[in-house]
Amino acid sequence: MINMLKAIRKKQKLWVAWLLVAPVILIRGFTTLYPTVKIFVNSFYEIKLLKNPNRKFVGFRNYINIFKDAKVLDSIEFTLIFTVSSVLFLVIIGTAFALLLNVKFKGKKFLRTIALIPWALPMVVVGIAAKWSFNDTYGFINDLIRRLLPNFHLDWLTSINTAQISVILVDLWKNIPYFAILVLASLQFISDDIYEAAKLDGASHMQTFISITLPSIRKTIMLLIIFFSIWRLTSYDIVYAMTSGGPANGTSLIAYRIMTESFTNLNVGYASAISMVLFLCMAFLSIINLIFIKKIDD
């Protein structure tokens, strides 16, 4: 194989390869690398477009201000709550759902098809429908609850705690099936023979799960935890469609806060500093991810 590659490389020079990959690298590089560098530079300037168009170098002041800004601190707090609780339930319920998807029975095709529905629907449609679903009087969620508890009343999205819970529930509805499908991918690598052997040895379902299934999907689940955490940290659509960050900024995720600062308040330098903090958190998670993959591969 390597010899063949060498032979081909001799015939065709590398510049052909670079020519082939150039469009992809140009488009992707320009839309990701350039803005990141720009954000890094801007984060050291005061750029308040609402007040004046000039920029002023302020060193680390934007970064220091982050830790004095109650709104940003609230956003960081909710982002962490959102990420941790959402990922926790994704792992528990998502893995259970993956096991259900993996069972061979007549309902398999049906389950797999409906599992794709939440994944395929736009978050904005889900979010805006959820805004109405959680309405006290006209939403279907309270309506269903009232069929069991006739006098139940709760306006989910008007108080901070219940609004936060609602956002997390909607995120779970949309993403549990996706998480499950990705776990299913690794479940399918476990051969039936192993399960048969375990059955012959008289292992119970629980024993089989703990000593065969769990070790085989452990690596995938750990990787998914990292990736889904990163996606949760940068979620925007759900809050934009469902709560607009309210009530009282109670559900404004950090991504939503960055957009408000940079496009509504036009406080561009400050928004860049918050972006850099978010970016560093993600880089940190990615590095953990890389170390983790290495460790498992060894």
């Binding site: 063949m4 052909v16 690398l33 954000i39 409906i114 629907l121 736009p122 805006i128 429908a129 805004k131």
Partner: protein, 279 residues
């Protein structure tokens, strides 16, 4: 005997779980659909009638009259199709480059494309917005198509490059012996072989495009896609949701997607699993 009973219990438990899952996933979608064909006067009532007594298409006709629905549908499909086409062409070429040539530089470039997924859209938004404004691409079709294409690159790259790596290089060599040049080799030999992978990429990326809210929301104003338009439907008091219109527009978006996934269930499953967490 006890084993048989045990089996029955298992089967029943399995179907109960399936039914419960189905209910949780399908019921909200069913409710959106029912709402869209319920007269608006009956929508604002409690308790909710889940089987509407007077089905109507009134909400859809209001939607057609008050919003430029067809224009938004056109925008969505036009941008999606162009982005998918551009993305497919450049990604097939690049996948060929990455899988048939080897150098340190190429390897680094490939990893960087995957790593660029780590840069979230909200972080890129302001600088890209300003750049697109300066070069007058803001709020234009070409501008949006470039941005959509860029979003689709990493997934397409992973699927196509991995697929091409599994295609034996001897196929290339025998084509060379027959005197094919690079262009012929890619269009006549490689393209037919990677068709299944291209299909997977197109199907998954089609969903990504229709799901995209952020790109058209930030980088366009006059050009509205369906995903943006549903957030700007006029509501009576500015706070509540104009549910009769939102549910109708929701159905315009949701129902084709559901038909789409019923048709392509297997390919989508395979695509998500092959792209793994990178998708």
């Amino acid at each position: 005997m006890s084993k048989k009973i045990n089996n029955y219990v298992n089967v029943i438990a399995l179907w109960v779980l399936t039914a419960a899952t189905g209910f949780v996933i399908i019921f909200p979608v069913f409710w959106i659909f029912i709402s869209s064909i319920t007269p608006s006067s009956e929508l604002f009532s409690s308790p909710i009638n889940y089987i509407t007594l007077h089905p109507t298409i009134e909400n859809y006709s209001t939607l057609l009259e008050t919003t430029k629905l067809l224009e938004k549908l056109f925008n969505t499909l036009f941008i999606t199709i162009c982005a998918l086409a551009v993305n497919t062409v450049i990604c097939v070429l690049a996948a060929y480059g990455f899988s048939r040539f080897q150098s340190k530089g190429l390897n680094i470039a490939y990893s960087l494309i995957l790593l660029s997924l780590m840069i979230p859209a909200v972080v890129k938004a302001r600088p890209l917005y300003e750049f697109f404004m300066n070069v007058r691409l803001l709020d234009t079709y070409p501008g949006l198509i470039i941005l959509y294409t860029s979003n689709l690159i990493p997934f397409a790259m992973v699927i196509l490059a991995n697929f091409l790596r599994s295609v034996p290089i001897s196929i290339d060599e025998s084509a060379e012996v027959d005197g094919a040049n690079l262009f012929h080799k890619i269009t006549m030999i490689i393209l037919p072989l990677v068709m299944p992978a291209i299909a997977t990429v197109l199907i998954i990326n089609f969903i990504s495009c229709t799901n995209d809210l952020f790109t058209p929301l930030i980088y366009a104003n006059k050009i509205q896609t369906l995903s943006v338009a549903i957030t700007t439907l006029p509501s009576v008091d500015g706070y509540s949701v104009p549910w009769e219109l939102v549910s109708a527009m929701g159905c315009v978006i949701i129902l084709p997607i559901i038909v789409f996934i019923c048709i392509f269930e297997q390919q989508i499953m395979d695509g998500i699993m092959a792209g793994g967490v990178k998708g």
